[in-house]
């Protein structure tokens, strides 16, 4: 299949590099690869990038064994977290809306590999894994999902409203499309402050038709803002397939005068390459659109079975042919960066971490009733506020 032939064609380079730099028994002692940060591997992406009004970057991506193993671990952790959240929702420990990201992990992980925590990311409601990628912990995730005070938003936000401002993660937004102008605003502020950083504003194919996207993009282009619009095209806007919602589903071209790049969103190295390219571009030339061709295994949310508008064959087909984690697993094994057994042990360790975080989150307390009235304002002037019965429950906004 495509991966192995391209590997074989490129295998000569990395193999000689490996034997030149390390001990003769390197290839047979996989445990040393896990810390190997110096060996440079050059891996070809699954498919070439397609550019719109720009010269696409090279298909050959540089990486290290440590980075690749890190990709595996990070994506496997995200996958396991989302699957565990499914069970928690079904046992009613998570309430309201719950939009799961499993299938799309390569976008979150590849992006992080290309940027710093001073760059900003903003996304919509499918935000659990982005939060994790930005340095959030499993415990904070599960606590927030279960509405506990140890949650990243102290239990007041819920699934759709995770934030980590100190690490450049600005949420977590419930209204489709709203995060795009907000992201352009972050980019505006970055340029205004001369920070030399960029913002990745993420959205789905459903949001790609929103008018506010085009309004904000126009201004970002006029003012050369370092804004990178990332369309996570999982091909369905809730229950509506892209061809039923968009006259032109070539989202990377929808910026018209704004350059764009089409990327295989299931290939973490391609995502990394594209984001690195986009950051360089945005700092010099203003906005660019990245379309990540990806897929979600779950329905739109936990209230959507995800099988009334697409076939089970399609879902299992993508899982078999394009799964991001399996791709990296094959890469690791074929390059002998680790063994099957070690990878399985990593997965087992991850399962333990997730179970442990859930157990701790389940035990942690609900927010104190006084939290009902906190954080309405930064500066509340001591004004009085009321609960449902203003003569029974009162508060003061500090």
């Amino acid at each position: 299949m495509a991966l192995s032939t391209s590997l074989r064609s490129n295998l000569i380079k990395p193999l000689t590099a490996l034997t030149a730099l390390s001990s003769t028994h390197h290839l047979r002692s996989p445990f040393s690869s896990s810390a190997d940060d110096t060996t440079v591997l050059t891996i070809e992406t699954s498919v070439p990038f397609i550019g719109h009004r720009c010269e696409p970057p090279s298909r050959n991506v540089e990486t290290t064994p440590k980075e690749v193993l890190g990709f595996f671990r990070d994506m496997a952790l995200m996958r396991r977290m989302e699957i565990a959240s499914d069970s928690l929702y079904k046992s009613k420990l998570i309430r309201g809306f719950c939009h799961l990201y499993d299938g799309q992990e390569a976008v979150a992980v590849g992006m992080e590999a290309a940027i710093t925590r001073r760059d900003c990311i903003i996304t919509a409601y499918r935000d659990h894994c982005i939060y994790l990628g930005r340095g959030g912990t499993l415990f904070e995730c599960f606590s927030e999902l279960m509405g506990r005070q140890s949650g990243c938003s102290k239990g007041k936000g819920g699934s759709m409203h995770f934030y980590k401002k100190e690490n450049g993660f600005y949420g977590g937004h419930g209204i489709v499309g709203a995060q795009i102008p907000l992201g352009c605003g972050l980019a505006f502020a970055q340029k205004y402050s001369k920070d030399e950083t960029v913002t990745f504003a993420m959205y789905g194919d459903g949001a790609a038709n929103q008018g506010q996207l085009f309004e904000a993009l126009n201004m970002a282009a006029l003012w050369d803002l370092p804004a990178i619009l990332v369309c996570e095209n999982n091909h369905y806007g809730m229950g509506t397939a892209e061809w039923r919602a968009a006259k032109s589903p070539a989202y990377y071209k929808r910026g018209d005068y704004v350059p764009g790049l089409k990327v295989d969103g299931m290939d973490v190295l391609a995502v990394k390459q594209a984001c690195r390219f986009a950051k360089e571009h945005a700092l010099k030339n203003g906005p660019i659109i990245l379309e990540m061709d990806t897929y979600r295994y779950h329905g739109h949310s936990m209230s959507d079975p995800g099988s009334t508008y697409r076939t089970r064959d399609e879902i299992s087909g993508v899982r078999q042919e394009r799964d991001a984690i399996e791709r990296v697993r094959k890469l690791i094994l074929s390059h002998e960066l680790s063994t099957e057994a070690e990878l399985k042990s990593i997965e087992k360790e991850i399962r333990g971490q997730v179970d442990d975080a859930i157990a701790r989150a389940k035990e942690s307390p609900m927010p104190d009733p006084s939290e009902l009235f906190t954080n309405v304002y930064v500066k509340g002037f001591g004004i009085e506020v009321a609960g449902a019965d203003r003569k029974e429950v009162r508060g003061v906004l500090p």
Partner: protein, 367 residues
């Protein structure tokens, strides 16, 4: 003209369809039950059948059968020209709907929740509500905007707001909010037939609730008047006004109050704009005490308007200050315990009613 003719033959043309009948849950002769969901579905079905100018547009209303299954079966029955799945672009499709109404069609625009109507509010207010006035009657807008309003369960700050007060303050709009299945059927039919823009505020948590329903309500010509409230329960000691889900809470509160010898009169507003101030005032003149109940934010709320309307007309009849029960003055929190505090509960209504009747010992303590 065509509309009136088709209404006269309604009974015959719908004889073979009878959607309301096969939506019934049980066939005992004693009492028929119908869920609010089926009530809305049957009303849409009947009105679309009666008037070819009526069409439905919104996200997932067609192939998905409706995000909350309110439009189930309609695409199959009426086809893609009359049941349109829109992209997720509220400002755009609301504008398109209003434009179609300018031309004389009768759109029913669904918002998946009214929170998303904020993306389209310019068209609702500036393009729909004000047009008939600005054009001195030339451009009327026979459109219905419908969808779930208010809090659901655990959906957080951006998905829980009640828009009754905002839309209720705007001249040119009519604003309805059903509670029971009878309300749902009668008010939606009235809204679709009405020549003005109507905001139709449903409630997600009520969709699955069943209510008894009479043969009269099941008839396809059934319609409720806009601007008339319903006295759900008669009483002598205190008037409690509510709409939508809170009507159910108020009725339960009335049961609890009755055990303490307080007879509460429960008014189901049904219509936020026009507000049925004659019915409210007549009730307050009888009971002399008033508690207003709503889910939305308190400031500038429906209760504030009702209080002023009563002060203006019936001040001399009030024996106690008007009590107001509303949502907490904070964005809706997610955590279950905080959410419970942010939305009115039955005990809040009971407590306020007792205070209005001077039966609360807590009041003596604070005095």
């Amino acid at each position: 003209m065509l509309g009136i003719v088709s209404r006269k033959v309604l009974g015959q043309s719908l004889g073979r369809i009878r959607p309301a009948v096969w939506a019934l849950r049980n066939y005992s002769s004693a009492e028929k039950q119908m869920t609010v969901r089926d009530a809305l579905n049957s009303a849409l079905d009947e009105e679309m059948s009666a008037d070819p100018k009526v069409f439905l547009m919104g996200e997932e209303v067609g192939e998905y059968q409706g995000a909350y299954k309110i439009s189930k079966g309609l695409l199959e029955k009426y086809g893609p020209e009359r049941v349109l799945d829109t992209p997720i672009t509220e400002a755009g499709f609301t504008g398109i709907g209003v434009g179609a109404a300018y031309y004389g069609l009768k759109p029913v625009v669904e918002f998946m929740t009214f929170n998303f109507s904020m993306q389209a509010i310019d068209h609702i207010i500036n393009s729909a509500a004000k047009s008939n006035y600005m054009s001195a009657g030339q451009i009327s807008v026979p459109i219905v905007f419908r969808g779930p309003n208010g809090a659901a369960a655990g959906v957080g700050a951006q998905h829980s707001q009640c828009y009754a007060a905002w839309y209720g303050s705007c001249p040119g709009l009519k604003v309805l909010s059903p509670y029971s299945s009878e309300d749902a059927r009668g008010l939606l039919k009235a809204a679709i037939r009405d020549p003005d823009p109507v905001i139709f505020l449903e409630n997600e948590l009520l969709y699955g609730e069943s209510f008894p329903i009479s043969a009269e309500v099941l008839d396809s010509s059934f319609c409720l008047p806009i601007g008339k409230a319903k006295i759900e329960r008669e009483g002598r000691d205190v008037t409690i006004t509510a709409f939508s889900k809170m009507v159910g809470f108020a009725l339960k509160a009335a049961d609890i109050l009755a055990k303490d010898g307080i007879s509460a009169e429960i008014i189901n507003l049904r219509s936020i704009r026009p507000l049925d101030t004659p019915t409210i005032n007549a009730s307050v003149r009888k009971t002399n005490r008033l508690v207003t109940v709503e889910e939305g934010f308190p400031q500038h709320g429906v209760g504030a308007e009702i209080c002023m309307a009563v002060v203006e007309e019936s001040f001399g009849y009030l024996d106690a200050p008007v009590e107001r029960i509303a949502g907490a003055d904070v964005p809706m929190p997610y955590a279950a315990n905080l959410e419970r505090m942010a939305v009115p509960q039955i005990e809040d209504i009971v407590r306020a009613a007792k205070r209005a009747c001077y039966r609360s010992t807590a009041m003596a303590a604070t005095a």
